[in-house]
């Protein structure tokens, strides 16, 4: 395998380092840009000294927001990579397949019906919603004439999203207060989120990430189909279970933190695959970096474009992601055969 050769490995490491540097630059951008102009030197000073001018803006608004963007973006990117591997479907994405909407629907229902306010409870509701949605979409997408095709799964996801969307908006109509507070969150936003949010979702994200990374080798064999995977020593049922669990944890917790944000999980793994090839062990770290960078940059763009107002990050990612989706549809047929050919090489 190519990854064992020293030169290839060095190139891979160099690529990851470059990615980290770019992400660090984006983080710096996230700290420096905002509604209130703060000179970069003062931002730096405020990071070191809690009494510096503008310290409250930087330390209480921008740092949590940037950290949250990086974590949630990384989680969504990784979740997308696992889903695409698990379903052997280049169009899989926790947003497009309704997993994020499932989480959001459960959260809205809990808020309106049970008056849930504490974030710990919200996370559990989000995980429950994500789990139900992902199981329903997989089952629906795996039946009928479109069985196993990318289109069948996406259609199932959209159908589930439509049902859940109707439920969410119905609840919003019934409860005006809840609608007022959830209106922004249900688009997907990083504004007004604080550090405790991150602390509450971080354990779930970490467990999800570890699960995702441990399934990476199995996903490579899985790409060849259930039969060939079994011959290579992979238990398809177990991989499906672990991978789905990872997806639920990652996208459910990310949605609890920032609301339903789509397309990060679609775009990040594809960009990663362009850079590394189809080997999931090498692809996943890239997907993490790219997802984090994408969400952060989308948030910065949303802050800058409509100053002094903000465009929610979920809207920016849709504008970036939908064209990518259209492009993917165009090359779908070709890439599927190419990807499976490459996957044979990787395994």
């Amino acid at each position: 395998m190519a990854g064992n050769r020293p030169a290839a490995r060095a190139r891979y490491a160099a690529g990851l380092t470059a990615g980290l540097v770019l992400l660090a630059l984006a983080v710096a951008g996230g700290l420096a840009v905002g509604a209130q102009p703060v000179p970069p030197a003062e931002v730096f000073a405020a990071l070191l000294d809690p009494d510096a001018p503008h310290a409250s803006i930087v330390r209480e608004v921008r740092v949590p927001r940037t950290l949250l963007a990086v974590t949630a973006g990384a989680a969504l990117g990784l979740a997308g990579a696992v889903m695409q591997g698990l379903t052997r479907n280049p169009l899989a994405d926790p947003g497009l397949l309704g997993v994020n909407t499932g989480a959001a629907c459960a959260v809205v229902a809990a808020t309106v019906l049970f008056r849930t306010r504490s974030l710990q409870a919200v996370v559990w509701w989000a995980l429950l919603g994500a789990a139900v949605a992902v199981v329903v979409v997989y089952l629906l997408g795996g039946r009928g004439a479109g069985r196993g095709t990318p289109e069948g799964l996406v259609l199932a996801g959209v159908a589930v999203t439509a049902v859940l969307g109707a439920v969410v908006s119905g609840l919003g109509v019934l409860d005006a207060d809840a609608y007022g507070t959830l209106r922004m969150w249900s688009v997907g936003t990083l504004a007004g989120r604080e550090l405790p949010v991150l602390c509450d979702v971080l354990p779930f994200l970490l467990v999800g990430a570890v699960l995702a990374l441990t399934t990476a080798p199995a996903l490579n064999a899985f790409a060849l189909g259930d039969e060939a995977g079994r011959a290579l020593g992979v238990a398809p049922g177990r991989v499906r279970l672990l991978g789905t669990l990872a997806t639920v944890l990652l996208s459910g917790a990310a949605t609890a933190a920032i609301g339903p944000v789509g397309f990060i999980g679609l775009v990040a793994p594809h960009v990663a695959r362009l850079l590394t090839g189809p080997d999931h062990r090498r692809l996943m770290p890239y997907a993490v970096l790219i997802g984090a960078g994408l969400l952060l940059v989308a948030d910065i763009v949303g802050r800058v474009v409509a100053r002094p107002a903000e465009i929610q990050v979920g809207i920016v990612t849709a504008f970036v992601g939908a064209p990518v989706l259209i492009w993917l549809i165009g090359r779908n047929r070709r890439s599927r055969t190419a990807a499976s050919r490459k996957a044979v090489g990787a395994a």
């Binding site: 329903v136 049902v163 109707a166 019934l174 609608y179 789509g262 849709a318």
Partner: protein, 353 residues
């Protein structure tokens, strides 16, 4: 048309009852008894649920409702029945029929049971157009905004899918991509509006018959009638496409032209529905499927689907107004829940097989 005199068994399972050929001078029709019976039955049921909505809660006794309808009731009952209730009931039937017919056409066009206009984004486009009008200008032009938005979206999706061969799945996926983009535009418009504006717009976005007015009914009915009449001859050609473009071409059907025509008619039907009641989900998805199951028909099944759509929507609205909720529940919430049940049922069937 001479080909059609001989029943063409496209995918017949022999269950739909043998077609009866009615031949007169210069005109010959092929009638399948079962779909016809199902259409009539569904129409009756839809009318029944409409009647139930008119007489609900016993405020006006059924006899007086009947009297009011024929202009013989008291002034008070005439006001309640003709001004308050009839527009809502009539609009529900018309919009439901339009949605069912649009769903049937689009599902047959894309050859996919999930390929209905609410799934592939045309409704999102119509909603964007209507929202722009609703939040920035005259509420009177909402219908125009919805029609314009829906048509523009359809044309755009069509152009996207046109690159390469004209494929059902490509059309659906392009529709989904554009639809999700527009959905986030809609969400953005809602977050930028003042809260009370946003809330009424949100109500409209779910789809509601609550604000139905008398003057809306006639245009919607005329639109529905004209589009259904236009669809009937095209549907025969559309059904022939099931055999494949080349075989259908051999029978004199221009595949590309037929598809474009069907698409235009389907978009028109959706626009009629959306402009009257907002983008109501799932009627267009479920109605054709359920109607097909009942009528055991092949092909598009336009009229059974329209009748089923009218029944589904008027029954859903009956449920929405009867539920003891704090405020009036928009019908879109009920059809959304209905869609959930339908999807669950689909799942259950898939498992058992």
């Amino acid at each position: 048309m001479s080909v059609l005199e001989k029943p063409v068994a496209v995918r017949g399972r022999g269950l739909s009852g043998s077609p009866v050929a009615v031949r007169g001078r210069g005109l010959s029709l092929r009638i399948r008894p079962r779909p016809l019976a199902v259409t009539l039955l569904l129409t009756l049921l839809a009318a029944g649920s409409g009647a139930l909505a008119l007489t609900r809660d016993g405020l006006v006794p059924p006899a007086e409702v009947l009297g009011a309808l024929f202009g013989a009731g008291s002034e008070q009952s005439a006001f309640v029945v003709l001004e308050l209730r009839l527009p809502r009931v009539a609009l529900g039937l018309v919009v439901g029929a339009a949605l069912g017919a649009a769903g049937a056409l689009f599902q047959q066009l894309s050859r996919n049971p999930l390929g209905s206009p609410d799934i592939v984004g045309f409704n999102s486009g119509a909603a964007t157009g209507a929202l722009l009008v609703l939040l920035h200008g005259e509420p009177a032009y909402v219908a125009a905004g919805a029609a314009g938005g829906g048509l523009a979206t359809a044309v755009f999706v069509q152009l996207l899918a046109r690159r390469g061969s004209f494929r059902g799945n490509r059309l659906i996926l392009a529709g989904i991509a554009v639809g999700s983009l527009l959905a986030s535009v809609n969400a953005y418009l809602l977050t930028r509006a003042a809260l009370d504006h946003a809330q009424s717009a949100q109500l409209w976005l779910i789809g509601s018959l609550g604000s139905a007015e008398t003057h809306q009914v006639l245009p919607a009915l005329l639109g529905l009638g004209a589009l259904l009449l236009a669809a009937l001859p095209v549907v025969r050609r559309l059904d022939l496409l099931e055999m494949g473009d080349e075989a259908a071409g051999g029978l004199g059907v221009d595949a590309g032209r037929t598809r474009v025509l069907v698409l235009l008619i389907a978009v028109g039907l959706s626009a009629v529905a959306v402009s009257a009641a907002g983008p109501i989900v799932f009627v267009a998805l479920c109605a054709p499927q359920l109607a097909r199951r009942l009528s055991r028909g092949t092909g598009t099944g336009l009229l059974p689907a329209a009748a089923m759509g009218a029944l589904l929507l008027s029954a859903s609205d009956l449920v929405a107004i009867s539920l003891p909720t704090a405020g009036p529940l928009p019908v879109g919430v009920v059809t959304g829940a209905l869609g959930g049940v339908y999807l669950a049922w689909l799942l259950g069937r898939g498992r058992r097989r």
